[in-house]
Structure formats: C-alpha cells, structure tokens
C-alpha cells in the first residue's frame, strides 16, 4: 500500500512539472493554433536564469529564503521577456502564413536557443543549489514525499487556480478567450489582438520559468538540453487533455505523470515512455479531441 502511495505521489510531482510547461503550450495553441516547440527552451532559460541569479546572490551572502524568491522573480521576468521577443521575431511575421511555416520556425528557434545557451554558458551539467528549504513538518514523511516535491505540487495547484480565475474573471482573460474563439471578430470588437497574444506568451513563459527553477532545485542539476524532453512530454500532456483547454492541460499532465510512474513501478522503467505514448494513442482513438477537448464543429 505504501508503495502505491509513493508511486502516486511521485506521479503527482512529475505531472505537476509537465503541467507547468503544458499550460504554456496549451495557451499559445488556443490563441494562435501554433505548437510552440521553443517553449521547452523557455523552461530551460528560466532554469539557467534562476541558477545565475541564485549563484550571484549566494556569493553576495544573501539569506537562503530570499534567494529562492528573488531567483524565481528574475527567472520569470527574463523568461517572459524571451517569450515576448520570440513571438515578435519568429511568429508574428508568420500570422497569415500556411500552417506549417510557424511550426518550422518554432523548431528552428528551439535549435537556436539551445545552442545559444550552450555557447554562452557551457555544455556541461551545472549543479543547481537546493533553494527550496526543508520544512520541519515534512520530516517524518521524507521517504514518501520531500519538501521540494510538496512545493512543486503546491505551486502547480496555485498556478492553475490562479490562471483559471484570471481567464474567467479579468478583462484580459476575457480578451484572451475572445481571441481564441475568433480572432477577426475580436479585432472588430476592439480588442488589441497583438497585445493579447503577447500577453499569452508572457504568461505561459512565466509559468514555464517557475517550473524550471523549481524542478532544477529539486533535481539538482541543469543542462542546456533539458528543455527538449520536457517540452515533448509537456506537449503530449497538453494534447492528451485537449489542446486549447487549460483544465485539460492540467488533467492531461497529471494522467501522463501517473501513467509513467505506475508503469515504472509495476512493470518496467524501460518501457515507461512506451506506456505513456500508447495511452495517448488509445485516448485519442476514443476521444479524438483529447480528454477535455471540444470537438470543433467544422462549418462548411
């Protein structure tokens, strides 16, 4: 029983990481129907920025708790800036283009960012300091769930609740929903579509950056290549849950994380990815628009 519980919590943590990145994927897709392959790289850049800031602050002798806060804030700021810039440079000129062109542009951007970080920083694996403090009340449960895992899950839940409330109740959120539904109409109604799209990228990138710093702190090391796999998994999670839907991304991420954890725990770690992808195929066969996706009626 304890084994099951451990796996469940492990899957929860994994799912949370995927969720933080998947939210960015799904938001961007909902607005401009683009699979932003460079999103995984934003996650990586957030982690690197966090590392740089944390390293600087540690050397300057700042107290432990504030380092995490400042590192997170800085990572968010810079990741958001990167997201904004990438959108302006690589996607905005391609708004009217055939569907695949922004996709290839995204792939090219992904390659560019990976190599940019590798050349500017280093190709080695860099140790990431453990910024998340150990909570006293978790001491007894350390073998099942550690403090950093708790923080990650908590951050994800907070982000999702926050995002859902934002989308539902704020003006910008409404503008986003409108743009996602029908861009031309949104323009006609007076919504500044460019700003809305930029805002989407900014928010998605911020979430990815938070994920980057937290998971780097949990795992303990970063490298310029971590964005690639995380990106593919998160994208799978987003599609699984129904791309374009925010609760769907969360659900998809959780399902994916759990499947992987249980596949490892009860079958074999070798085939965990195979299970994840087979699950994806099965779900899409029976629900072609994802778990929570809405079947878009095509007007003729």
């Amino acid at each position: 029983m304890e084994y099951f519980l451990e796996l469940l919590l492990g899957g929860l943590t994994r799912g949370s990481i995927y969720a933080l990145i998947a939210l960015g994927y799904t938001m961007v897709y909902g607005i401009i129907e683009l699979i932003n392959f460079a999103h995984g790289e934003i996650y990586m850049i957030g982690a690197f920025t966090g590392l740089i800031v944390a390293g600087l602050l540690t050397m300057l002798g700042f107290p432990g708790a504030s380092i995490l806060a400042i590192a997170l804030v800085c990572a968010v700021i810079w990741a958001a800036a990167y997201g904004y810039t990438i959108e302006k440079v690589a996607y905005k000129p391609l708004r009217g283009a055939p569907r695949l062109s922004p996709l290839i542009s995204a792939i090219g951007m992904s390659i560019f960012l990976q190599n940019y970080v590798m050349l500017s920083q280093t190709s080695d694996f860099l140790p990431f300091p453990e910024l998340i403090p150990e909570f006293g009340f978790m001491k007894g449960y350390n073998s099942i769930m550690s403090s950093s895992e708790l923080v990650i899950v908590g951050a994800t839940i907070l982000s999702c609740i926050g995002l859902t409330l934002f989308i539902k109740f704020t003006k910008l959120g409404k503008a986003m929903r409108a743009t996602a539904q029908n861009r031309k109409m949104a323009m006609l109604v007076g919504i500044n579509v460019d700003m809305v799209i930029s805002a989407t990228f900014v928010i998605g990138s911020s979430l990815a950056a938070v994920g980057g710093v937290l998971i780097a702190s949990h795992v303990g090391q970063i490298n310029y290549f971590i964005g690639f796999i995380a990106g593919i998994k998160a994208f799978t999670a987003a599609v699984l849950g129904g791309i374009g839907s925010i609760p769907g991304a969360m659900l998809g991420a959780l399902v994916l994380g759990m499947t992987e954890a249980f596949a490892t725990g009860y079958v074999s770690s070798d085939y965990e990815d195979v299970f994840a992808f087979c699950l994806l195929v099965l779900i899409l066969i029976f629900r072609p628009a994802g778990i929570m996706g809405k079947e878009k009626t095509q007007k003729v």
Partner: protein
C-alpha cells in the same frame, strides 16, 4: 524587389557550389603535392597529421573535447623537441557527436585526407561504426575511452588499440568488490545506452555466476527524464542492499540524490563514466560515499603531472574526462611512429606491440589484440568531496 530576393537566393546557391568546388580544388592541389607519396614511398612527410575524432559538439561533447586538448599538448611538446622523425605534428579534428553515421563520415574524411594515425573515437558505438573504414585503409586507431570489449577481443580490428581497460574487466572488479562489501541483493540500473547497458549486463552476468549474491532488479532509466523518483521507489521496494549503476554522471547524480533524499542509504556503485570530478561537483553532498571504478590511480605519475600542469597553463582550467588516456594515446601513437621511422601501417602496429612507452597512465605496451598492458581498474570512493582509491 523580386529581383533582389531571387538574386540573394542565387548567390547563396553559387556560394554553396563554389564552396564545394573550392573544396575540390584544394584537394586536387594536395593530391598533386603528395603525388610522389602515393607511389608507395613511405618516407616521413614534412608534416605528420594526427587525427582526433570524437564528440566535439552535442551533449557528449564534454567527453570528447579533452582529447583534442590532449592531442594539441602532446603535439606542442613533441614539436618543441624537433617533431617526430623530423616532421612537425599537426592535429586535425573531426566531430562525430558520438553518432555512428557521423562517425563514418568523420572516418571517410580521415581516409580522404590521408591521415594515418587517429586518436578516437570516444564512444564505443561510434568507434564500432567507423572501424571497418579505418581497417580497410590501414589506419591505426587508438581510443582513450571506447571500452566495449568486442572491439579488441573479437580480433576483427587489428588496427584498433586503446589506453583504457575494457568494460568486462571493470564489471568483474565491480562485482567482486560488491561481494567484498557483503552485499547480497543488488539492484542493477543502467541508462539504456550502449556503454551503460553493456556494463550493467556484464555486471548482471557476473553476479549471476556467483553464489551468495543475486540481482533483484535490472532496469533502465531514460536519460534526460524530468525526475527519477519512480525508479528510486522501485529500488526501495525491491529490498536491494546495494545499487550498481551503468552510465554517465548526470543520471548517476540524479539517482543518487533521489535515493538519499528518500532516505535510501544503501551503497551506490558505478563505472568510470561516473568516476569524474564533475560528478562530485554536480551531486554535491550526495556524492559522498559513492563508489566508482576507474583507471588505476596515476596521480604519482610524472608524465601525468606534467600533462595536467601543461593543460592548466595552456587552457586555464582543469582537464576533463579521459584527458590522461587521450594524452597517453597521443604519446603512444606518435612514439610508435618515431620508433617505426615512418607511418607505414605494419611498422607502426609492430612498434606499438613491442615497444614500451612512458605515458600519463603508466608504462604501456599493447597486446596482440590491442588492449594496453599495464592499465587496469581500481575502485574509488568519494570521501570528503574527492575520489580516493580504495585498496
């Protein structure tokens, strides 16, 4: 307007073609210059090219770049002393990113550039792919890190040598050491890569052949995955009292830190992909107590000390993985050419097998199959943030 864009495209195409033709023209000139060498004379040319092949970019670049540095340092040292047989040593590197298809490209480039001695490749898979090409063109290849046993032991590649002991020797040592620690149930984990899984499979084989010790778990992890807590749970659940890991330091450090954080304090043993200071740096306090097999200690070796000092002076940093082996390989190759008096294949291989050479990893000679006599493995443990040899 349209004219401009199409002109740019045309220019790009022309540049590409010119580059292609330009490459050819150079090659043709070189061919003419070496025309007399092609007729069969093997007098030492005025320039001796040492090819270095391996992963110089991509995610395994940190394992391949030190070998270029090593080759350059050895070349500089020998050139300062007058070169090899009067010829100045020049280092030419080819990148294969540890990918077999790029390795064959790199090998064919070496062949077409008429390089006779090659230091490389780094990864066993890439080496395996490139060896038939080198064999056919009678090029002597020496690797500082390709530890896959069949490369020498199958006898298929008499032109292949290495300055590091093969994986099965490593695995045998690891298993006997684990037994010596009193471990009875081992969880064997690997990174699903050629090297890691190979090592882990050998370990499993040797454990199963022994009494009193058994394999309770044999699993692979996906490198680069976001977290490894599921595997750690599985290790815990299997009741193992020791973990043997085959693979490289990034995964090892993630697994070890995951284990320690979850309170799994059993011994962690690994291979020479982990016996690297980078592992200690990255894993931090969790590296403490980790065992790893690695080439026998040679920090007392004067050649090694000189090599490290030269590296620090030239490149301003500590050398990376497989630097001593690569330095030794470069020394051995060039020394053999010196002894043979030329780059003739038969003479060089003969020299390698019969003459000793003082290198950074010890006094070496190569056996009939290509393994180095005089290198072996020891077990090291991380104590107070440093790898210390366990006697």
């Amino acid at each position: 307007m349209r004219v401009k864009l199409s002109l740019i495209a045309l220019c790009l195409a022309m540049v590409a073609m010119l580059a292609a033709c330009g490459g050819e023209a150079e090659k043709i000139e070189k061919k003419d210059a070496q025309g007399d060498v092609e007729t069969g004379e093997v007098a030492a040319p005025a320039k001796l090219v040492l090819g270095v092949a391996g992963a110089h970019s991509g995610d395994l670049a940190s394992y391949g770049l030190p070998s270029i540095n090593a080759a350059k340092l050895v070349a500089a040292k020998l050139n300062a002393a007058g070169g090899v047989n009067g010829a100045m040593v020049e280092v030419v590197s080819q990148d294969d990113q540890c990918k077999p298809e790029l390795a064959t490209n790199a090998a064919t480039k070496m062949v077409s550039d008429e390089v006779k001695i090659v230091l490389g490749h780094i990864c066993s898979g890439a080496t395996k792919a490139a060896m038939p090409i080198y064999l056919e063109s009678e090029i002597v290849v020496m690797s500082p890190s390709a530890t896959n046993p069949p490369l020498t032991q199958s006898g298929e590649y008499p032109n292949f040598f290495r300055t590091i002991a093969p994986d099965d020797a490593q695995a045998a040592l690891e298993v006997s050491f684990a037994k010596g620690l009193g471990l009875k149930k081992i969880a064997v984990i690997h990174d699903k890569g050629d090297y890691g899984k190979g090592f882990a499979s050998f370990c499993k084989q040797f454990i199963e052949a022994e009494d009193g010790i058994e394999v309770v778990l044999f699993e692979g992890v996906t490198p680069g995955a976001v977290d490894y807590s599921a595997v750690v749970q599985k290790i815990k659940g299997s009741g193992a009292d020791g973990v043997i890991f085959g693979g490289y330091h990034p995964e090892a450090s993630k697994i070890v830190s995951g284990m320690r954080k979850k309170g799994v304090e059993i011994p962690f043993l690994s291979d020479d992909g982990v016996k690297d200071d980078t592992f200690i740096k990255v894993a931090g306090k969790y590296a403490e107590g980790v065992y790893a097999t690695g080439p026998m200690d040679f920090s007392d070796n004067p050649v090694y000390q000189e090599a490290v000092a030269a590296h620090k002076k030239e490149f301003g940093a500590d050398p990376g993985p497989f630097f001593p082996e690569a330095y030794s390989a470069a020394l051995a190759l060039l020394n053999a050419v010196e002894n043979a008096g030329s780059t003739d294949y038969a003479k060089v291989t003969e020299a390698l097998r019969t003459k000793y050479v003082d290198t950074a990893v010890g006094k070496l000679k190569f056996d009939a199959k290509g393994d180095a006599e005089g290198v072996g493995f020891s077990v090291y443990q991380v104590k107070d943030g440093k790898y210390v040899e366990v006697k």
